[in-house]
Symmetry: C2
Subunit: 337 residues, 2 copies
């Protein structure tokens, strides 16, 4: 199968300039195969601006753009020539193996489900961002909001997908799978979580038990599993507290002249802090469980973040996760009978 | 009705010294009426140590202690003479109007339900801590984990209780009630949250709609309502990220000598930062919805935190929330018919 990444160039804060520049970087630095999808005239303008016409990066014209305000499910059906829709259609048709967008997450989910479709054995795809931990290794959170409703079986499928992803993409031999819960003891949580706990004990993964919110950032697991409602809340609380802390820290630093001097001298420390919290290096969040590789990059991605996303998506689609996932899901279904 | 706070002196990291000292402060500074519950010999020793025997603070002997490791529901039934159980029994019997403990939260919940009992019209009590916001005003989160299972009706009751609490205890004329959710638009979230949204629109409170996790700390609402599973996750994620940020900031500050100097000079700023995040001044989390006032103070409460908790519990039990709550709950039931 062909391995080429379809890059939706028309979504995100710095599109399409950052997208084209990131693609040029990824081709030059990592020999990633990429096809740019979007307004052809604009894309060619940026390729020339970057003196990259010699790379012969293919361009697929798409005349429409999906904005962040549009209703995802209907727009994906309506705007057949939107860059996001065209890029997904290319994966569906085998013209590309992976798709990346910086645009509307809801539209990405809708296009993933309606156009690419689910992998056999996966009932719900899961959005799986990496979040920072104290030891710098990070953890994969899934589902971070692809589905609002949860079932115990979904959570087991998330665990298996997360397990494989961290093995294949991050090279962790036995990723530790934790179940996000309100207490560490078995039997904690609501009905959904108690049932998921029992199923996870029998699942073909390295299940390490319940994980409380306060331990997530300490790095006690490599994959944290929960329903999409809970995962989205976790993601947004951690994001929200990140900006909260940096904001009030900056205020306190400049509140007094003494603080101002201290702040100026301490600024390398602050810069390092931000770097440790910046998960753009992870290249965005994969949408796991589709019949193809799909990545959501951050809306504010710069060229470097796009380049990393392209590298990861390219490597990931070469890893053969789909076939390995099928084997594990079959094993899990046998063990739960 | 008598207004006196039964203080469980035997739970928490610094018990019973900090408890007795906090009580002495509260009596001297705020004329709070308090009765100390716990090992009488130890309590009298501390009263003498603090030269406070002239205050004639009453002491109720209790021979047993509930540890953090014990199973809450069974221990409350078994250890009839545990300080926590005795303090709750005093509220039940009308000998005290409020109870405060720094001990086991699960045991507090169990004792509240089994001994004091629920207020008529409240199906589930809710644990309601205050959390910090950027504007320094904070928000009340409920339910933070009293119940693991959620129903739309519970969430409406939480909203009414939180609304009244912030009016009566914090003097906010029209507290803004937000529903924690995965998006701000109506119709977001799972079935539970969509139903709760509809009910809240008709409830006799100032409902401001869905609130995303990332906006909570910005201070967009005075009360944030959610089911106890979600609330516990929110609470622990915010707590966890608080210690995460201060820890890595400290590391970065001391990583380089330049950072070290900056850190030393910037330390007043760091101290202010910690102060803004320290919600011990709120005096702990009330357990709302019981037939009496019940407060969980932090396990690591010092004397000052205990004193604040006593003041708030005392004022709160004078505020007449029980009768006002009954009126609002009846109004809500009429409007939802």
């Amino acid at each position: 199968m062909i391995n080429i990444v379809a890059l939706d160039c028309m979504g995100g804060d710095y599109s399409p300039g950052a997208q084209v520049e990131g693609a040029v970087m990824a081709v030059r630095e990592y020999k990633v195969a990429v096809i740019l999808v979007g307004n052809e005239e604009q894309l060619r303008f940026h390729l020339e601006r970057l003196k990259a016409t010699d790379l012969a990066i293919p361009v697929r014209d798409a005349s429409e753009v999906i904005s962040n305000e549009e209703q995802p499910s209907s727009v994906v059906r309506r705007k057949k020539d939107a860059s996001l829709v065209v890029a997904h259609q290319m994966v569906k048709d085998g013209e590309a193996s992976a798709v990346i967008t910086c645009g509307n997450t809801g539209a990405l989910l809708a296009a993933g489900l309606f156009i690419i479709g689910r992998m056999p054995g996966v009932e719900r795809p899961a959005l799986a961002p990496m979040l920072p931990t104290h030891d710098g290794k990070g953890f994969l959170l899934l589902d971070a909001g692809a589905s609002a409703e949860g079932k115990p079986e979904y959570l087991v499928q998330y665990a298996i997908m997360g397990y494989l992803y961290r093995q294949l993409v991050h090279g962790i031999p036995e990723p530790r799978i934790g179940l996000i819960n309100v207490g560490s003891e078995p039997g904690k949580g609501n009905e959904l979580y108690r049932q998921a706990y029992s199923l996870l004990q029998k699942a073909p993964v390295n299940f390490v038990g319940n994980i409380e919110g306060r331990d997530l950032l300490a790095g006690v697991c490599d994959v944290a599993v929960c329903d999409g409602f809970t995962g989205n809340i976790v993601l947004k609380c951690l994001e929200g507290s990140g900006s909260f802390f940096t904001q009030i820290l900056r205020e306190e630093m400049s509140a007094s002249s003494r603080g101002l001097v201290g702040g100026a001298i301490a600024s390398p420390a602050l810069k390092n802090l931000r770097k440790r919290l910046d998960y753009s290096e992870y290249g965005g969040a994969p949408l796991l469980g589709l019949n193809g590789v799909s990545f959501k990059a951050h809306g504010s991605s710069n060229a470097r973040a796009i380049c990393q996303a392209l590298k990861i998506a390219f490597d990931f689609s070469e890893s053969g996760m789909v076939s390995q996932l099928n084997l594990l899901l079959a094993e899990q279904q046998r063990s739960s009978l």
